[in-house]
């Protein structure tokens, strides 16, 4: 009953808002001159731009950035709505339904890396940002971040917000026990390549047999794959015609083989990321290293707690580059104000927007000017012995080659990594693992 009344009120409000936007739209067409980002020109009507994001905690950390914009642009007000903390099972299906229905989505929507291949394959649903001059932002981004925002029709439909990057987190207490150096520069020098990393692992394991050298299969696999993909035309599981190349891409096989060599040497703690065991092992020193995107620092400090402060540190990742995670903003073509939405998008993904988000939520910027801003470049992480996190992560993404995500990238990735975890944990035999890996990839591609 209460629900019904509330829904009624909501419907009335929605109807009112609709009438309002329709009026605003009509008013807009007459003067022809569009409102500018600076807010100097004053259009007759006030416009509201809805920004939809996802994520828990600070999520996109746009409170400050949105307040800055709204203060400077009284006629284009941004409404920042974080829809849910669950991307995969709530946000993405909801957005897809809105896109299909042709209404409901915000004027700007945020998208996680995992769904970028899917969105790039649906150019009909998104505004061409090049039309609003945003392709001039290309120079701001590392190539691989920019190129993911170009869809299958070759048009720019999304610009990057934050980025994961990749470093190697390690426990100084366990390294000390193994007689390895603990200073982060010396540790980085231990493993210029992945083979060196393997050798260090063997030395570690000989001294400290009851802890794993690395947590499990996932982060290492993804780091190696990101580097190998660059050597193989930027391909992961699909070629640019959406053909499945999971079995043909030498980069995939190389990453698979490397994980196998780590696992069969007994260097992994056989843990699955995000499992209860993984959390506990992080607290109790169950493993010595793990692949660390920038946002993982928060996961480690949150999970390991104060009792482990200063026991973790951050070094460079073997091979020098890698990335896990990051998001993009895009304007659905159903938006009534694509021009203004593009302006807001430009601001949020620009230097000021990204620096504001870094200050508010620690989201590491993907735009190079923002990375070079002193706020980011001089940032140190107290939990990790004051590690200079800014330069470490900026370096890890600077040399990354552009990559291509297929439409079903997320599904194939999830399916094949499951086989890797299984082989690492023993439910799949290593000599059958590659066949199964390919089979699962083929099935997931549908």
């Amino acid at each position: 009953m209460m629900n019904n009344t509330r829904r009624g009120v909501l419907a009335a409000v929605a109807a009112g808002a609709l009438a309002f936007t329709a009026a605003a739209c009509g008013g807009d067409e007459a003067p022809a001159a569009a409102p500018s980002a600076g807010g100097s020109a004053a259009p007759a009507e006030k416009i509201e731009i809805t920004l939809n994001t996802f994520g828990g905690g600070e999520n996109f950390a746009y409170d400050d950035a949105v307040a800055q914009w709204n203060a400077a642009n009284p006629n284009v007000q941004v409404k920042y709505v974080n829809l849910t903390d669950r991307f995969e099972d709530t946000y993405l299906p909801q957005v897809l339904q809105w896109l299909e229905a042709g209404s409901g989505a915000g004027d700007i929507i945020a998208m996680d890396e995992g769904a970028m291949g899917l969105m790039a394959a649906r150019p009909q649903y998104f505004a061409d940002l090049g039309q609003y001059g945003l392709d001039s932002r290309k120079a701001d981004y590392p190539a691989f971040k920019y190129d993911v925002g170009v869809n299958t029709e070759g048009k720019l439909f999304a610009l990057g917000t934050d980025i994961g990057g990749m470093a190697m987190c390690y426990r100084t207490d366990l390294f000390e026990k193994a007689g390895l150096p603990t200073n982060r520069d010396e540790v980085s020098k231990l493993w210029p390549t992945w083979n060196d990393y393997l050798e260090v692992g063997k030395k570690f394991k000989a001294k400290v047999p009851d802890a794993g050298f690395v947590d499990g299969a996932n982060t290492v696999y993804n780091s190696v794959l990101a580097q190998e993909a660059g050597k193989n035309g930027g391909l992961y599981y699909f070629d640019k015609n959406q053909g499945l190349v999971v079995d043909k891409n030498p980069g995939v096989k190389a990453a698979f083989d490397y994980v196998q060599s780590l696992s069969t040497a007994g260097l992994t703690a056989k843990l699955r990321s995000w499992s209860e065991e993984w959390n506990t092992a992080m607290q109790k020193g169950g493993f010595a290293t793990m692949g660390c995107p920038s946002w993982m620092l928060g996961v480690i400090s949150g999970t390991s707690g104060d009792s482990n402060a200063k026991k973790w540190d951050v070094a460079a990742v073997p091979g020098g580059s890698g990335n896990w995670g990051g998001s993009w903003l895009m304007v659905p073509s159903q938006s009534k104000h694509p021009k203004e939405a593009a302006d807001v998008l430009n601001f949020l993904t620009g230097k000021d927007g990204q620096v504001a988000a870094f200050k508010e939520g620690g989201n590491f910027p993907s735009a190079i000017p923002a990375q070079q801003d002193p706020t980011v470049a001089d940032a140190k992480n107290a939990y990790f012995n004051d590690a200079p996190s800014g330069p470490i992560f900026a370096a890890s993404v600077a040399k990354l080659a552009p990559v291509f995500f297929g439409e079903k990238h997320a599904q194939v990735k999830a399916a094949v990594e499951e086989v890797l975890v299984g082989a690492d944990q023993g439910s799949v035999k290593w000599d059958e693992a590659w066949t199964r890996f390919v089979e699962e990839g083929v099935k997931a591609a549908g």
Partner: protein
């Protein structure tokens, strides 16, 4: 019956007045007919309207979707029964069915037997009976996710309590998620912990409706308590047992939260689908891979499986005590 008597009485007692004459007699008859025949339907209609919107419509729409290659924000082509024929030869789907049935059997059979024995014990004269009865029901009010999280920690490979205790007997640590048997047992214990008390209370309520003189007569004839339990209690509880079996069947076949939490929140149910249930399979196909048509077909097959299993269970349980 009683309704028409009421209404008749009311027509007779309507007071004579100007209103009565103002209305044409035909209209009044219609009103009274509406009052008599239509009002009851009107009063029960809210349930049926809601059921039509949230029950029947989704059911039919799901059937319609299942006949398509239906991708969310993508192509939708009518393909007839192709999803069904594909499903019937899909190893992963049958693996999920096997897991669901397996977990259902090893969870439900001991659970209902235990509940029956527990109810029988609680039906005796005991000190602090109310407290005992309430405490049996307590697990039910805990959140299913909380239960699953705690049990998943207990069954942890490296730091779990169960492995620690087993280690005391010299057993190597078991990776509970890694094998079918171990994961099924772990999930079955979560289900039993939560639902045994619930079923016990239902049995207990039913037991208290059995007349005492039946037991007295049996006791005079020299029947042992065990004989009384199997000869009187169980046969007379049959309708209740049928109810709990059908409810457990539905619950068991739509099992979802426990295995999801047990598998770190993923829909895959273990690295090789060791404990992926049909409900998880449907969510994975529909909301991870965005194959709505395929997921809809799986949902319909699940519906049919539940119906068939409930009927089989009904037939089996109806046979209880018949030989006696």
């Amino acid at each position: 019956m009683s309704l028409s008597v009421d209404a008749g009485a009311r027509t007779r007692t309507v007071p004579p007045g100007p209103r009565r004459h103002a209305r044409p007699p035909g209209g009044r008859r219609l009103l009274s007919w509406l009052d008599l025949r239509a009002a009851p339907y009107f009063f029960v209609s809210p349930y049926f309207i809601l059921f039509a919107i949230f029950g029947i419509f989704p059911l039919i729409f799901t059937a319609w979707v299942s006949l398509h290659d239906w991708q969310l924000a993508g192509d939708k082509t009518f393909i007839g029964f192709e999803n069904y024929s594909e499903l019937l030869v899909d190893d992963k789907f049958w693996n999920a069915v096997l897991n669901t049935v397996g977990i259902f059997v090893i969870a439900t059979v001991p659970q209902l037997l235990l509940a029956l024995l527990l109810a029988n014990a609680l039906n005796k004269k005991l000190r602090g009976r109310l407290v005992l009865r309430l405490s049996v029901l307590a697990p039910l009010i805990t959140s299913v996710v909380a239960v699953a999280v705690v049990f998943t920690q207990l069954y942890g490979r490296d730091y779990g309590l169960v492995n620690w205790v087993l280690g005391g007997f010299g057993v190597d640590p078991i990776h509970w998620q890694n094998e079918k048997w171990s994961s099924w047992i772990a999930i079955a214990t979560m289900i039993d912990w939560r639902w045994t008390g619930y079923n016990a209370i239902i049995y207990l309520a039913a037991m208290q409706t059995i007349p005492k003189d039946l037991y007295e007569a049996a006791a005079i004839d020299g029947a042992s308590p065990r004989r009384q339990f199997w000869g009187i209690t169980v046969p007379l509880l049959k309708p209740t047992i049928i109810f709990t079996v059908i409810v457990s069947t539905i619950g068991g076949f739509t099992l979802f939260a426990e295995p999801v939490m047990f598998g770190a929140g993923l829909m895959t149910g273990g690295t090789t689908g060791q404990f992926q249930t049909v409900a998880m399979f449907i969510v994975k196909e529909g909301f991870r891979d965005f194959q709505y048509g395929y997921a809809a077909a799986a949902a319909w097959i699940l519906f049919l499986l539940i119906m068939i299993t409930a009927l089989i269970n009904f037939a089996i349980v109806r046979g209880i005590g018949r030989s006696r």
